[in-house]
Amino acid sequence: MTLFLDYSLDGLANGMIYATLALALVLIFRATRIINFAQGAAGMLTTFIAFSLISGGWGYWWAFLVVLLIGFAIGAATQRVLIRPLAGKSELNPVIVTIGLFVVYEGLAGAIYGNASRGFPAAYSQRGLHIGRTAVAFSYFDLFILIAVLVLMAATFVLFRFTALGLRMRASAFSREIARLLGVRVGLLLTLGWGLAGFAGSLAGLLAAPTSSFGPYYMDLIFIYSFTAAVIGGLESPIGALIGGLIAGLCISYVGGYLGSGLEPLGALALLTVALMSRPEGIFARPPARRV
């Protein structure tokens, strides 16, 4: 029974990180209908920048904040410089650009920082909390992850639901032309959307780093599972990203625990297939009306 509990807690902790990166993917997809394959690698690169800052003597929280802002900037710049010129042409080309960015980011991290083993410090203690005399697989750091992700989700929800800016962003995503006609600065809002996604991606990178083999590739598998989570939740819905992330995290943890870690991708594939068979647009998305 404790094993099941340990697997569940582990799955939830991972799921939170998947949810964060999935949120980034959802934000970009809603705005520009592109899957940003470089999102995980961008998070990795900004986390490496944090590592440099912290090793160079900066305070942990200052570095954290600065790096989140750098992530925002990178996301916004990517949209402006690389994605905007490709709008309106084939759907495949922006995706290839993001794949190219993914490769470049990993190459840069490898070239600048090398392959050497290193650890990334966690914000809080990673020792498990104690319930009675037994230690549970949940630490102050895991609590921090939980709170950080929930705050991000809540802020996103508030932004989209209750602010004028959020309304304009939703309008731009829903129908670009009509929003433009109504005076919405669509281009600026798309850039903002990508910036927010970059922010979320950086956060995911920072949260995942302390418990990973911190190197140029540590976000790769996380990206894939986050992508899975976003797809399951429906690529249009931030709530879907959260739920999808938790479901994916739990499912993968159970498969890895009971069947073996090599079969985790297969488990994720099975989960994805089942989810998409019942709801091809994802669990939380509204199916589009058929246009004839």
Binding site: T2, L3, D6, Y7, D10, N14, G110, G114, N115, A116, S117, R118, G119, F120, P121, A122, Y124, S125, Q126, R127, G128, H130, T134, A135, V136, A137, S139, F141, A208, P210, T211, S212, S213, F214, G215, Y217, Y218, D220, L221, I222, S253, G256, G257, G260, S261, G262, E264, P265
Partner: protein, 464 residues
Amino acid sequence: MRRRARRTTGWARCARALVAASIGCMLGVTLLPATAQAASTPGVTSNSITIGATVPLTGPAAPGYDEIAPAMNAVFDWVNAHGGVDGRKIHYTYLDDGYNPANTATLTRQLVLQDNVFADVGSLGTPTQSAVQAFLNQQKVPQLFIESGCNCWNSSKYPLSLGWQPPYTIDGKILGAYIKANFPGKKIGYLYQDDEFGQDVVKGLDMEVPSSSVVSRQTYDAATLSGPLSNQMAALKAAGAQVVVLATIPAATALAMLPAAVIGYSPQYVVDSVGADAPTVGPLLASFAQKGGASAAQVAAAGGLLNNVITTAYFAPESDTSNSWVQVEKKILEQYAPSLWAKSGLDGNTQYGVALAYTFVQALQKAGKNLTRDSLMNAINSDGHSFVTPGFVPLSYSSSTHFGFEGEEVVKLESSAPPAVTPTGSWIGSVPVGPVQTTSPGSGPIKKYTGPTSTPPKSLSSTA
């Protein structure tokens, strides 16, 4: 005249395709480098020897292993600075295969068919080197000192393929015997990499440790390794394992110890030497220990989570600063690989590289002035046991054995031992806790080794 509609006809398209193809081919042929003229012994001239290797310099398999080839190059630079071997300077070309056997196959063919290397020396990986074993033997190119502990290098079908490090099964047997003798009646758990490496270590363990003591066997897949192995450690804890054997790469060692510490599980760790190098694993664990509330000094003193880890060593570890081999290794790296020295210092990987390269230099010296692939193989097979190496035991090479070292001693990482100091910090040192033992990967007995251990020569020439 009736004008045909200006339509690009099918023929025009095909013609266009053929023209493009021809241009492409002509460009390709002119751009392709010309094949060098093969000398009578490929790769050997009167003043040079060209050797090659394929190693992972990028990719998830690269951490740590990318240090070995530059360390080998330092030794060759040292040799070249002293006039080379019999007047020939060694040129070492190592290419990045990213641990992908398809790349290894292509790059090895480039080295053999295009660059005409004399031998393939110090290439890394079981799946990667298995991919080119048949090719190299068929091309009569020695595949020397493969950086892998697979039992498969000892094949009579491929006489030109030689291992070097102790096979993983030997690690398993010697560690297993230590566990049997020192932890009788305790519950044992295994966490191993689910491939040749881990499976071979477990094979050795199973030859010594009674199976009734083994309460849990957990595995992890190297390809999908990215986060903590929490599930596996939770399962080992649930099974009540008091001694946990880790057959893991350094990243996985850290990713196993970290979640175990989180859930307050601290068994006696027995770690295969592949994943037990303190300067390599230490940085991964250091930040964890610090955040646990201990001060930096306490962390350093306690050696963190690596304290009391049992592992093996087949040459003097980097923390043994009084050992003459360690001193020579440091000097070579400092002088001839300054950027590598500044980055990593003397750690498990750079030590490995220096020792392996020095073995090859010995082989060249013994092969003599009339250097051919045959004379090199003969030198190794007949004189390998007398090579001067940092190893505790002599090399086992003979016409019937293609393994290098088949002996090691059990050591413990101890906070009271002198630390291993590298540019990245001060890491826990090790002390021997048993004699040097030899065995074979088969079911043969483990014997204590009582022979001499060699010391480094005063200068290069005195080893000829």
